[in-house]
């Protein structure tokens, strides 16, 4: 075991898979000799060579097309989109092409591609760096969307994502890259995609969260505990497909739930979680399922992040509304 930050765990997962499978290719803008703008690919080109880990021209759409083309020759591409706000440049390659590749060819071809990309607020990035666009991806049939919140999860989920034979969008929250360390096994291990984890057990309220909001939810749960409320926190880890069983089992136990996301209320995936709970567990509910989400504006100018981004106080406030309904 080693103490790792999330970014170190990601590098470790990439190194593991580059070693395990010669078809794995890592490429993107500045991921080679530079080791990535966040050092996620640090040392990989040196260890595996320019043939395996290489830079691309500055064009996201081209990177997406490159990945798709490489799959036809048996490669397993792990491209990087430098910031997920740049998704719009490559939206066709992702949603219009690779997500549909297996279906449109009736299984003749498939796209074992893992797109890594940083996102998320709280670190005062410039425009179009921090936007939470996972909701767009979750609406596209053919993709899986993974968002880890801990170093341990990041490594196991990324290895699973790379080994998956269908396209996976792997979103890395920038605020979580180096915010804390955790014990991470040095050997390889996997965490199944599509499986949530109960990060804290409780009996009065279920908080469903993902990304940076998992940590705000855990903080909120601790404070609520002091006031006598036992709160269960579920980290979705994969936001598409949703782990319905874990969510419903928890809600049937606690009879109350809130869904917490950093994205705007009209975006993200909270509405989907609420709808699934409504479909499957409405008779267990003692109160409506409320959402914690950002205002429905464009992502804030960096100085306005503290007043705009949802935090543990918003979670406590919404939790109390549901607990006292």
């Amino acid at each position: 075991m080693a103490q790792m930050t999330m970014i170190q765990a990601i590098t470790d997962a990439l190194r593991t898979e580059l070693r395990n499978d010669e078809n794995v290719l890592v490429f993107g803008e500045d991921v080679g000799v530079n080791g990535g703008v966040f050092r996620a690919t640090e040392g990989l080109q040196k260890e595996f060579g320019e043939d395996r880990v290489f830079d691309t021209p500055l064009a996201e759409s081209g990177i997406g097309g490159l990945a798709i083309g490489l799959t036809t020759q048996g490669f397993r591409p792990v491209p990087e989109i430098q910031f997920f706000g740049f998704l719009f440049e490559v939206m066709d390659s992702v949603s219009g092409q690779m997500a549909r590749w297996r279906y449109r060819t009736g299984g003749t071809f498939h796209a074992p591609i893992t797109i890594r990309s940083p996102f998320g607020g709280g670190v005062h990035t410039p425009e179009m760096h921090a936007d939470s666009l996972e909701g767009l991806m979750a609406q596209q049939p053919g993709l899986k969307v993974v968002i880890p919140s801990t170093p341990y999860d990041a490594k196991g989920l990324l290895i699973s994502a790379i080994r998956d034979n269908d396209p996976v969008i792997f979103l890395e929250h920038m605020k979580l890259y180096r915010s804390f360390r955790q014990e991470v096994p040095e050997e390889e291990y996997t965490i199944p995609l599509g499986k949530a984890e109960v990060k804290r057990e409780g009996s009065d309220l279920t908080i469903v969260a993902y990304g940076a909001m998992v940590h705000d939810s855990l903080k909120a749960a601790e404070e609520l505990e002091k006031e006598g409320h036992s709160v269960e926190v579920i980290d979705l880890r994969t936001i598409s497909p949703l782990d319905i069983d874990t969510i419903i089992t928890s809600v049937e136990k606690t009879n109350r739930a809130i869904v917490v996301q950093e994205a705007q209320k009209q975006a993200g995936i909270a509405a989907q979680v609420v709808a699934e709970i409504s479909d499957r567990a409405i008779l267990s509910l003692e109160a409506p399922v409320l959402r914690v989400a950002a205002p429905d504006t464009v992502y804030p100018f960096s100085q306005a992040e503290p007043v705009w981004l949802p935090n543990h106080k918003d979670i406590i406030e919404t939790a109390k509304k549901v607990l006292q309904f």
Binding site: A59, G65, L70, I244
Partner: protein, 371 residues
Amino acid sequence: MASKTKKTQFDAVKTLENIESQFEMVQILNEKGEIVEDALVPDLSDEQLTELMRRMVYTRILDQRSISLNRQGRLGFYAPTAGQEASQLASHFALEKEDFILPGYRDVPQIIWHGLPLYKAFLFSRGHFVGNQIPEGVNVIPPQIIIGAQYVQAAGVALGFKKRGKQAVAVTYTGDGGSSQGDFYEGINFAGAYGAPAIFIVQNNQFAISTPRDKQTAATTIAQKAIAAGIPGVLVDGMDPLAVYKVVKEARARAVNGEGPTLIETMCYRYGPHTMAGDDPTRYRTSDTDSEWEKKDPLVRFRNYLVNKGIWNEEKENEVIEQAKEDIKVAIKKADDTPKQKVTDLISNMYEELPNNLQEQYEIYKEKESK
């Protein structure tokens, strides 16, 4: 007051003119079927020449029958190909089996001649997933509907060949309108930056639906767009099978020799509408233009050339026509006999392992389908 204007040393207009003058159209056969460039005549045997003619005639019949079957409602989406036989089939004729084709929506003939069964091409037209199930060993993807996407993907296929050390090329096609897309530029630029073995063909058939070529760009040729990627660009008479074959063959040789990609503009014309979905070409082009291009018909000039060589005659041509009609009849029947699609089929084709939402929906539709 007279000002002393210093005359600039730099003449931007001249630079442009110099560039444009470098893109002269390659032609080997003129409209009468006479050789106009002896030195460029490709090394093709009599059998190869007649086989190319056979494919072009066959494809002209395929176009006529497809239009007719579409009108009868026995085909769906169809983009006519008449007029582009030299551009489509002579370019394909220069390829090898191991080469990988990324066609646009109009480039069904190339993937048929590369090995896609005709009935599958008809199922593609109708909208059936079996049409896109490409047989093992046939290196093509289904026709690409998103104009330009095939270009960035071709750069990836080509890089894949290079990394595997294979002596093969990725070949992709778009139209004149498609050369305005971002993916067009990104595709040729990526292939250039990686020195990847790709051949990018722009079939300039003069119109993107109703928009004429000169409304796409102020560039006098599309071939010169290769300069932006730092790769060779060639303008070729797209109604001349020998010229198209020759330039593609050379581009292929350069590519497999590790010398990188080439952009080829084939100057051609489509006689029919853009697609059979209600486009009416009389709204945007004149019958004068149509008849001017009909004089350049690739079949007419190639027929004259082969007849003069004594290796083609009416009897041979009629044999091809009858064969094509018979094959088409059999293929349509086979398409008719293909089982209808079920929602459970569509679900099964989504992922290797179905996620829980689809597992649940699969059971729901399986139940419905069993009633």
